[in-house]
Amino acid sequence: MSAALPLSAASGANALLERLPVVLRDGLLGYLPESLRWIVSGLITIAALLAVFGLLFAYLTLAERKLLGRIQNRPGPNRTGWFGLLQPFADAVKALTKEDIVPREADAVLHYLAPVVLVALSLMGFAVLPFGRLLVPVELDSAVLYFFAAGAATELAVFMAGWASRNKYSLLAAMRALAQLISYELPLLLSFVPVIMLAGTLSTTEIVTAQGGWTLGFLPHWHVLTPWGFAGFVIFMIAALAESNRSPFDLPEAESELIAGHLTEYSGFKYALFFMAEYFGMCALSGMAVTLFLGGWQAPCAFLEFIPSYAWFGAKLLALLFGFIWIRATLPRLRMDQLTRLAWKFLVPLALINLGTAAFWFLTAGWSGPLQLVRWAVAVALVVVPFLLLGRRLTAGVAPRTYRYAT
């Protein structure tokens, strides 16, 4: 992990904690000959990422089941270990010891490749996320583009899984997945264009640096705290929900309609790999949302800066992941036509208008005093009015639902 900023930037009491991962890595590298260092350094980074996000995946599944249980008024898994803390490992053992079934008619090569490709691609996004002030696995000039290019390629793996299974449900799910992912790619990409416009860069570290600083010491300059940034953040999160096939956009694997969608013909460890990829994708997209809109590793208040930057990144990431789980427990699944209508008639126009809002914000950056109020008012109006108008059109003709039988 290369140093994003000079080491002096992490000064004061937090310097040691801040630099701890880098110091540990350099200490380890010190024992090795010069020629091996670059490759071992890369391997250490990869191992650290795999370990952290592998564990996060394990406990995220547990947290999700526990939270869903709580929300649905039942205890959730609580038999393995204290409070069910060993449940993920029991699940892993179960998945590993299960028989791996490949249907006779299936396309064996593609059937095997699909989960592998999916996990590999969903891990690639982590390479450019700035996890902390000094923790950036790879510095790229066009990091944001790289991230979304890697994410776009995962759709192919879903299609491969659905098609290779030679199962009608799987194929239907693959078609649904393709339609959904194409539809939501557009708002996802459009929603963060304002961030790139205003930060003037595609590099993730520079985007985080651009959100540094505080007004009055406690109001951070995060993008989400501007009108266009808030709209962009909400659109981004909705599109991210759809891109990671999470409820309420989990149509490709809708249990009640398509058995398990493209996962129908998968069992054992391959099935677990699909789940791993889903959670990795969710984590990567949440990490990107944190980087683009929530100030990355920046502390929310100036006096809280003593906490190391990666802890802030982790806290924001966990908050977003909690939001994902909460939404899954709350909202019912959309129908296919509602899903595409939401993307094309609501999110895409809003994201396009948001571009205009961001341009206005950028052009009026010099306004001060009472003009600042005008600037905020106009920008908020540019966000809220299209939202209300488009929302009214989206729900036009839908009467308030009356429940005749359920009281």
Binding site: S142, Y146, A153, L156, F159, Q338
Partner: protein, 172 residues
């Protein structure tokens, strides 16, 4: 320096050639995606980072999806996956002969050319430079491309849209 290039070239050429010979359309499309990814790897090798990621995003992320969709929507039978009928011998022979002639012309032209004055280091082109170029000297072409894309998208929708039919379940 050349070793990665050779790997990339072999991968790209082999996957493209096999993709074009297979009789299973889905396998063809997926192998061609591999070939497109190989071309993106070539761009990375040549130092055009932005273009490489744009290639992945557009080809692997978007065009491949549209192709796969088209393949699934135009299957001759919904129940079984029939392999494509093999082209006739005459067709193969004439097509290959034409391609071979073009190949020989290109080969002799490339091999006979002496190249002088090339640069040895990749020119340093940041995303910011590229943006300035697109918004400055090439702004007019950028606008034209935007118009082309919009018109093409609208055209594609109009061509592919079925005749409107009233179906009650389409209502929200």
């Amino acid at each position: 320096m050349l070793f990665p290039f050779l790997i990339i070239a072999c991968l790209t050429l082999a996957s493209a050639a096999v993709a074009m010979m297979l009789r299973n359309l889905i396998h063809s499309a997926l192998l061609l995606v591999l070939s497109w990814a190989g071309i993106a790897a070539f761009y990375l090798w040549a130092g055009a980072e932005f273009i490489a990621f744009a290639q992945i995003l557009v080809y692997v992320g978007a065009i491949s999806m549209v192709v796969l969709f088209a393949v699934l929507l135009t299957r001759p039978s919904r129940d079984v996956d029939l392999p494509l009928p093999a082209p006739t011998v005459l067709r193969i022979a004439s097509g290959l002969m034409a391609a071979a002639m073009v190949a020989s012309v290109l080969l002799t032209a490339v091999l006979a050319t002496r190249i002088t004055g090339g640069r040895s280091h990749a020119p340093n082109l940041t995303v910011k430079d590229l943006g300035a170029l697109l918004a400055g000297p090439h702004a007019a072409s950028l606008l034209v491309v935007g118009v082309i894309l919009t018109v093409a998208l609208l055209g594609a929708i109009i061509i592919a849209a079925p005749a409107p039919a009233e179906r009650p379940e389409d209502q929200p």
